[in-house]
């Protein structure tokens, strides 16, 4: 590794060179400070809640010899950056991820620290997390991540004003859903906003439809490697339901041109041009930032409707159980101890308060008495109940599967929604993908 200047390398030669370099730098700026070789790199996904991690790092640095340096990676390419850096000398020491498929390849290459014992032995972490939330960090019998942000269930949002206008309630059953689609279309309102240009928004519909039709077990079989489970009749039937929605005009005629990532769909929804929007709980924060009046006065929320004669539970949810900190297995000695010490702070009072104040529901147990500090306590309680009472919490499929399988699946989803595949062809294409 001739070009390596990364602080993690501990060979005497590089340490010496680094020390020499550092001595020069320090002399030049005339200030003391921790040795550069003692600094760990912490990567996080840059967005509106990054400041919480920045504050946590700052608090940690005040009391530790080993210093942390937070690196904020722009969101859109986080997954690629993380993946291409791992296994090179530029890899982060502690890093944000989505658990499951986003880190399973690293686990197979023994690149991450197994945190099972740490969780069992550390008072601050033992039994601290909601089991369904921690589950996404459990791979091959080990635990490889600690929840560090909010739980993000996918919620069926609606525009309360438009529902009042037609004198209806948000749908609780699929029959009501179908009826509402007709009524809203007659009123020249798009029944459901969908950013189909981003295939993961279309995926949310399939995730819920499969859960309600076939129960959470079908996906659990696929996720655990039984790729033949794509052939389950519930897969074809839920894909067909999605096609029927498109056919019936539920998503309007331009949904394939709409994107979520440029705020297009959220703006469309906030302007009252669509009645419902199936999206992660972060939609609330986004609306609060971009269309505050809409968020406060007209943004309603509810659970996904039940499909009669379906096998799913009404309380089951899909979404992102959390984001996680994982630790690079190259760390050892004092640095490893420091990294594990840092993980403890994800459950301390300051960190949890900051999360709640930011509008997040932490993945820890017993946060109900904190929820009054949430910007919207009512929405917080709704989510908290949703999470704690869920019969099953299915992780977003694209994050549950390893990269390669997820890419194949997303292409099939995109093809299904853009008319390139029938429901049967969709299931056939995916058979063998897991």
């Amino acid at each position: 590794m001739p070009f390596d200047l990364h602080p993690r390398l501990r060979t005497p030669a590089t340490a010496l060179a680094g020390a020499a370099l550092l001595a020069g730098t320090l002399a030049a700026c005339g200030s003391g400070g921790p040795s550069r070789a003692q600094t760990l790199e912490v990567w996080t996904y840059q967005d509106a809640s990054t400041h919480i991690q920045a504050e946590a790092v700052e608090r940690f640095n005040e009391t530790s010899d080993v210093q942390l340096e937070l690196v904020e990676i722009p969101g859109a390419n986080y997954q690629e950056r993380m993946r291409t850096a791992m296994g090179t000398p530029n890899a982060p020491d502690i890093f944000f991820n989505w658990g499951s498929g986003s880190i399973s390849d690293f686990v197979q290459q023994d690149m991450l620290v197994d945190l099972t014992d740490t969780l069992a032995e550390t008072e601050e972490l033992r039994d601290a997390f909601v089991p369904t939330v921690l589950a996404a960090a459990e791979i091959d019998g080990g635990v490889y991540g600690v929840p560090m942000r909010g739980v993000q269930p996918v919620i069926l949002f609606h525009n309360t004003e438009l529902f009042e206008q037609i004198g209806a309630e948000p749908p609780t059953t699929w029959e009501e859903m179908e009826e509402l689609i007709e009524v809203f279309q007659a009123e020249d309102i798009t029944p459901v906003a969908l950013g189909g240009a981003d295939a993961w928004t279309s995926l949310m519909w399939l995730e819920y439809l499969l859960d309600r039709t076939g129960g959470a077990g079908v996906w659990q079989r696929i996720e655990s490697g039984e790729s033949e489970a794509w052939g389950d009749p519930a897969v074809v039937s839920s894909a067909q339901t999605a096609l029927d929605l498109i056919e019936d005009g539920a998503f309007g005629s331009t949904f394939l041109s709409n994107a979520y990532t440029n705020d297009g769909v959220s703006t469309y929804f906030a302007q009252g041009r669509a009645a419902m929007h199936l999206m992660g709980s972060w939609e609330y924060g986004g609306q609060l930032a971009n269309a505050e009046e809409f968020a406060r006065e007209r943004l309603g929320y509810g659970t996904f409707p039940v499909i009669s004669d379906g096998a799913g539970e009404a309380s089951s949810i899909v979404g992102n159980p959390n984001n996680y900190w994982s630790v690079n297995a190259e760390l050892e000695g004092e640095q490893l101890d420091a990294a594990l010490e840092f993980l403890k702070h994800t459950t301390d009072d300051a960190y949890l308060s900051a999360l709640v104040a930011n509008g997040d529901i932490p993945g820890t147990v017993g946060v109900d008495d904190r929820l009054d500090d949430h910007p919207d306590p009512e929405f917080a309680r709704f989510q908290y109940e949703l999470i704690t009472e869920a019969a099953a919490f299915t992780q977003s499929w694209d994050q549950a599967l390893p990269n390669r399988a997820a890419t194949e699946m997303m292409n099939a989803v995109d093809d299904l929604f853009s008319g390139g595949l029938t429901a049967e062809e969709f299931a056939d294409t995916l058979r063998g993908v897991s």
Partner: protein, 299 residues
């Protein structure tokens, strides 16, 4: 030795002068290409060491429907780009070769897109083509065309990519043609006008034949550029809807940096190098570009 003698004969600088260029090309083009060619015979996830897999990637490439589709789309996009960009760039370039001040001012305006980054242009066009908030929505309403579902329809998305590419690259090719047209000797036009040729006749009898070399140069650049076109697709359509704009370079990116199937992605990349090189060599050969020394021999 032979090289040096020839260099002396023609009065050109020796091989030594080419060293910086060769080193740069070797380090940043040839070496990575060799590496990618080698990777195409391995199975590699980017984490563990590449494992030799023989011709597995290549046999898969040969029968992969996604690759066939991507290749078809790439060739279609190349054809569309050439058919659209060449006449526009040619006319614009020849027109702007005139020395009038008004033409100079307008040319400066036409050449502006050349200065912007492709990513910025793609983002701007994506906003323009937004079905609800973009200019396209207003135009569609005004023309009573219904919904502006350009990026959401299979054909519309590919045409949009071809159009944005043209919008971005026509100025460059017009610049080539402008330079070429200004090299055409005045005397040829004088002779033509004595023979009674009008503007149109002069264009076809004098300008176009004189621009033969420029047409070939511009076409080769256009074809190779279209075959390796990427950023605009990534930002404008993300290869969609479905796989309607998943051209070969995008397929390579998706396979390499989404699925992290880097061995197979290398096979896609290598085949792209081979196809692009082959097509440009073929064009040079067929047009007789290689044998031509000058369009003004004997003048």
């Amino acid at each position: 030795m032979a090289g040096r003698r020839r260099a002396r004969d023609t009065g050109r600088p020796g091989v030594l002068w080419a060293v910086p260029g060769l080193l740069f090309f070797g380090l940043f083009a040839a070496a990575p290409m060799v590496l990618v060619a080698w990777l195409s015979f391995t199975s590699w996830d980017g984490l563990s060491a590449p494992a030799w897999s023989g011709t597995e990637n290549w046999t898969r490439l040969w029968s992969d429907p996604a690759m066939h589709r991507a290749l078809r789309l790439s060739l279609l996009l190349t054809l569309l780009s050439w058919l659209f960009q060449t006449p526009v760039a040619l006319l614009l370039g020849v027109w702007s070769a005139g020395r009038q001040r008004s033409r100079a001012v307008l040319s400066a305006v036409f050449f502006l897109p050349l200065l912007a980054s492709s990513v910025a242009l793609a983002l701007v066009w994506r906003s323009i083509l937004d079905p609800n908030f973009g200019l396209a929505a207003d135009v569609a309403r005004w023309l009573e065309l219904g919904d502006a579902n350009v990026l959401g329809s299979q054909r519309g998305a590919l045409l949009a990519v071809a159009f944005v590419a043209a919008w971005q690259f026509v100025p460059f090719h017009a610049l080539l043609y402008q330079g070429g047209a200004r090299q055409v000797p005045r005397s040829l036009y004088d002779a033509a006008s004595i023979d009674g040729a009008g503007t149109v006749r002069q264009f076809f009898a004098v300008t176009l034949p004189q621009l033969r070399n420029t047409v070939v140069t511009s076409s080769v650049l256009m074809v190779v550029g279209s075959l390796t076109y990427f950023e605009t697709v990534l930002i404008l359509t993300g290869g969609g809807p479905g796989s309607a704009t998943t051209i070969v370079p995008y397929l390579m990116y998706e396979t390499g940096f989404r699925a992290f199937d880097l061995g197979y992605a290398s096979a896609v990349a290598t085949s792209l190098v081979v196809v692009a090189t082959g097509v440009s060599l073929l064009m040079v050969r067929l047009t007789g570009f290689g044998r031509m020394r000058s369009t003004r021999e004997g003048m």
